[in-house]
Amino acid sequence: MSSAATAPAVLDREFLDIRARVLELAAALDRLDRADGSVGGDARMAAIAQAIDIVRDSKADRAERVQLIFSRPYEKGWRQKLGVVPR
């Protein structure tokens, strides 16, 4: 199943929303710059930068990939690590 609308129709409907969200992001980053001190070494800033790169690339599943940037990694061997025995 896909979208019920054409791409131009989606853009017409969403353009102002997208514009507003990009502006909000730009203003938030400006706010960080204006504040005293530095967060350059904060891992969250690196994650934000990586997420923005994903937003700008042209590959599919951007939302899924952005979610994974902000996620702790899953390890297959978690049961052994935590000492949890499957039934």
Partner: protein, 281 residues
């Protein structure tokens, strides 16, 4: 349009919310047991909570012709207390045959710890032994992906569980695929800031189709919106989706999933006599 909210914590809401839900077309709610905002001190605290869920909430819902169903467990946050959790799990069967009880839930993980996993497995064992359906809470934010994968590992390890009778809730873009691919039901929660919103939920319907997908508000004592399912209905309409598809997701799917529980005696609103709806008290 009639709809069902398959995950909402009405004990945290005022009676006016039942009236609003009813006016918006809500004909039934399902209420999983969850964290009250503080850790309860004893098994009797849970026994009283389960009485509230099975006695008073159905009555209060019935005042507005809303049918009330519920799920019982000790939630993942309080599961850190393993000895209390075991007392609660041993007490749950007292309530499983009460009218309106759909199964065990919302069990799951919160910070993905060892104790949470141990108590999750013990709940699965109870559900398997009592043939109950299961409703699962997945963690928030940075813990969601890891926790959902751990939950799927534990579910898939247990051959006794029928996957079509298990609902994995609060899925988002990075967790929906493995849940559906493994054969479980998935719930999308429309919740400000930490979960999904109506438009992203519509996106996931467009990407994955409507099978085995539910939409809920998870309305509770936090900043949440009990009328989030009508917001989703409106978003679907504005994006050009047919009424039949919307009805499938917000009404037919929950009826299909819940019908596998022996405690689900649903009267479709079209068929019910006025005194029959919400009359289960």
């Amino acid at each position: 349009m009639y709809y069902i909210d398959p995950h909402i914590h009405m004990v945290s809401r005022v009676t006016d919310d039942y009236e609003t839900l009813a006016k918006m077309g809500c004909v039934a709610v399902s209420e999983p047991a969850f964290w009250a905002g503080f850790d309860r001190g004893s098994v009797d605290g849970f026994r009283d909570y389960f009485r509230q869920l099975t006695e008073f909430e159905p009555k209060r819902a019935g005042w507005y012709r809303v049918q009330h169903y519920t799920w019982l467990c000790i939630n993942a946050k309080e599961a850190e207390n393993v000895s209390l959790s075991r007392e609660v799990i041993a007490m749950i069967p007292e309530f499983l045959d009460r009218p309106g009880v759909l199964g065990i839930g919302e069990i799951g993980l919160n910070k993905n710890t060892r104790n949470e996993a141990i108590i999750f497995l013990e709940h699965l064992d109870l559900a398997a032994k009592t043939n109950e359906q299961i409703l699962i809470h997945t963690p928030h934010l940075e813990d969601k992906h890891q926790g959902t994968r751990m939950i799927l590992d534990m579910l898939c390890d247990d051959a006794r569980l029928e996957r079509g009778r298990v609902l994995v809730d609060h899925v988002e873009e990075h967790t929906i695929r493995p849940v559906l691919e493994a054969g479980f039901w998935a719930g999308m929660t429309l919740y400000p800031t930490t979960k999904c919103n109506p438009h992203r939920a519509v996106d996931m319907i467009e990407m994955y189709g409507p099978e085995r997908l539910l939409v809920n508000s998870a309305g509770d004592w936090g900043p949440s919106k009990p009328t989030a399912v009508p917001d989703f209905i409106m978003a679907m309409r504005l994006r050009g989706h047919p009424e039949s598809l919307i009805r499938k997701v917000v009404y037919e799917n929950p009826v299909e999933f819940f019908s596998q529980s022996r405690g689900f005696h649903f009267t479709p609103p079209e068929l019910a006599e006025p005194e029959e709806i919400g009359g289960r008290q």
